[in-house]
């Protein structure tokens, strides 16, 4: 498999999903398009383009030639962000961002503990102060009001 063949087929599959979801909405007519009209057109175009990419993709680099050396780290980053996001409205902004930074600087990047503590505390407190106290945008606080 070549990379473009794979990505083209992925796009085609997505187009089929959109078409499937779009069946719930009336398409209307050419002179009076309904809510499903434009999405249907787009799904057809998307699927068509996907197939064309796959069809002309014979000369692209093989799928296996794409290396994913950073995928592990990327997954760690996304998961850590997701955890921080979940924590945000539960334990408050300052605490979750502090933990988030400690995790990255201390565990992932293995920096010196003192520096880690300073950056994590400084960043979360300072950004909270600017956004919440100066700009008066209420940021989430934890159950302890912090």
């Amino acid at each position: 498999m070549k990379s473009d063949q794979v990505s083209g087929l992925m796009l085609f599959a997505l187009a089929v999903c959109v078409w499937w979801l779009n069946r719930a909405f009336p398409v209307g007519s050419l002179s009076d398009p309904g809510p499903g009209y434009v999405p249907l057109l787009l799904a057809i175009a998307f699927g068509g383009i996907g197939l064309l990419i796959a069809a002309f993709g014979g000369r692209s680099e093989p799928l296996l030639a794409i290396r994913w050396p950073e995928a592990g780290r990327a997954a760690v980053i996304l998961i850590a962000c997701a955890v921080a996001t979940l924590a945000l409205e539960r334990i408050g902004y300052r605490l979750s961002i502090m933990v988030f930074l400690v995790f990255f600087l201390g565990v992932v990047e293995r920096k010196k503990p003192l520096v880690v503590a300073l950056v994590a505390a400084g960043f979360s407190l300072a950004s909270f102060y600017v956004i919440s106290d100066l700009l008066r945008v209420p940021l989430p606080r934890g159950p302890w009001g912090f």
């Binding site: 009076d32 002309f56 945000l88 961002i97 920096k111 979360s124 945008v137």
Partner: protein, 507 residues
């Protein structure tokens, strides 16, 4: 003419009052700082500051907000260039070549040219606003749904025409953006589409979380896991300043971008993103070295940045001359003066001359302030890059989460940003260019709505697009561009793309 001059002098007498001057300055600084936060752009900036202006007098309030607006536009381009994080839709194009320049250690010239281009475009915009506001405003009103449909179609055709790599892949990404734009409540029928029962998706997917995710987060995902941390670029002092060659390359794009941006800016609606895309496309076509685009061409920063700033000023034309909000940003500004009992409307300039002329004069002042403020700061900003990446990226991530959340206090926006980061990462691995997604997302809902509005106006007849001269001209132009773009594909003709070896996968 004399009258305009006298009015302008009166405006300057307002703008140079110490209090007004101070607020203009203050606004520019706050705006720059807000704009530099990833995820916070001009709209977020002035929305956050709007309540603070309720206690001020209307002139000061609007001057402050205009300063914030300008500053945030500039601040947004700073993060686009340094970190590949767009603060708003229009900065997406700046990310491409601006960040490539940063990677080559040329962040200094990129930032400086962005500042100079913004200054020039802002000045052109203000002059246009001052001299032409009433005339242009009437022209702007003639843009109804059919004209708007034609404009948006033209924008999409330009995209096909300017696509750098594989045209199919570019179109696929544009359609993906258009599809993302279908999410949410359909304004014409009230159906909620593709929202998976998430109420927050009713208004659709916001451009800021998508752009921050696709560009900023995906970049971090690609970079942070590299076995070797990215080299810290240590530009020498000379490298901070644009060379004579940089200026020579940028002069044309800045001028063209300013004019183009201003014209698109006065059209009601929020299609300003088109101006930066079209400017980028034009510059690439006009350039003798189109292959440099996407790899750190300074024209690719100068043109779109100028276009986007001129469009921002152009948007004030209908706001001040007619008193109608034509974009979310001007809607907030109108609210700021309505709070003080000033009713927006076509009589605003006559009834509140000191407001109008004070505003115009303070835009001149604001432009100068920004230039003076930011050129010396270029060195400082570039030094941000000296922070080791291991410290920089966790902080950028935290900023992105904070920025996306605080715009509308919405967790969903943060999730969209993270999801788009993952999607963008995979797509980039497969060699897709992501800028068209942003364009499609912004244009999608507008295109669908204006098409269906046009048909509602005409009772279902497509003839409406052929009865209106502006729409006809734009459609013809768009089709011409599309034909030119397809020519090499259909006739296997040789054009610049094959010359530079980009045509390999064009199909």
């Amino acid at each position: 003419m004399i009258e305009t001059f006298n009015s302008l002098m009166m405006g300057f007498s307002v703008a140079f009052q110490p209090q007004v001057l101070m607020y203009a300055f203050f606004g520019c600084i706050i705006g720059t700082l807000v704009g530099m936060m990833p995820g916070l752009g001009p709209l977020a900036g002035i929305s956050l500051l709007l309540p603070a202006t309720f206690g001020l007098n209307p002139i000061v309030a609007i001057v402050l907000l205009a300063g914030v607006y300008y500053g945030a536009m500039y601040g947004g381009s700073t993060t686009s260039i340094l970190m590949r994080i767009p603060g708003e839709a229009a900065s997406v194009m700046t990310c491409v070549d601006g960040y490539a320049m940063t990677q080559q250690g040329r962040a200094g010239p990129a930032l400086a040219i962005a500042a100079i281009g913004s200054f020039f475009a802002g000045t052109v915009g203000v002059v246009g606003l001052m001299l032409l506001a009433p005339t242009l405003a009437d022209f702007a009103l003639r843009f109804g749904p059919p004209e708007y449909t034609a404009l948006l179609l033209m924008g999409l055709f330009v995209l096909a025409y300017m696509s750098g790599g594989s045209m199919l892949k570019t179109l696929a990404m544009a359609v993906l953006g258009l599809l993302l734009g279908m999410i949410g409540i359909d304004a014409m029928s009230g159906y909620t589409r593709f929202s998976f029962d998430i109420t927050e998706l009713g208004d659709g997917v916001g451009i800021v979380p998508v752009a921050v995710g696709l560009f900023g987060i995906s970049e971090i995902l690609l970079t942070a896991g590299q076995p070797e941390p990215p080299k810290v670029q240590q530009p020498t002092l000379r490298q901070l300043i644009p060379s004579r060659e940089d200026f020579r390359y940028s002069a044309g794009p800045i001028m063209r971008g300013s004019l183009l941006g201003f014209m698109i800016g006065i059209i009601p609606g929020s299609a300003h993103i088109i101006s930066s895309f079209v400017s980028y496309g034009i510059e690439r076509r006009l350039s003798p070295h189109p292959e440099r685009f996407g790899k750190g061409a300074i024209e690719g920063v100068a043109g779109p940045e100028s276009a986007n700033n001129a469009a921002a000023t152009g948007a004030f034309v209908p706001m001040l001359a007619l008193g109608i909000p034509t974009s979310p940003v001007t809607a907030v500004m109108i609210a700021a003066i309505m709070v003080h009992g000033i009713l927006p409307g076509p009589m605003l300039i006559q009834q509140q001359p000191d407001l109008f002329w004070g505003f115009v004069a303070s835009m001149y002042v604001g432009n100068v302030v920004l230039l003076v403020l930011n050129l010396p700061m270029v060195g400082l900003f570039v030094n941000l890059l000296r922070i080791p990446y291991a410290y920089l990226y966790p902080c950028i991530l935290a900023f992105c989460i904070l920025g996306c959340y605080s715009v509308s206090n919405s967790m969903i926006d943060v999730w969209i940003m993270l999801g788009m980061g993952g999607v963008g990462y995979v797509l980039r691995k497969f060699g897709f260019d992501l800028a068209p997604v942003a364009l499609g997302l912004v244009l999608g809902p507008m295109l669908e709505l204006s098409l269906r509005q046009s048909l509602a106006m005409s009772g279902g007849s497509y003839g409406i697009f052929l009865e209106r001269p502006i729409a006809v001209v734009m459609l013809a132009l768009g089709l011409l561009l599309l034909a030119l773009a397809l020519k090499p594909v259909l006739f296997k003709g040789r054009d610049w793309r094959s010359k530079v070896g980009l045509d390999d996968q064009a199909g």
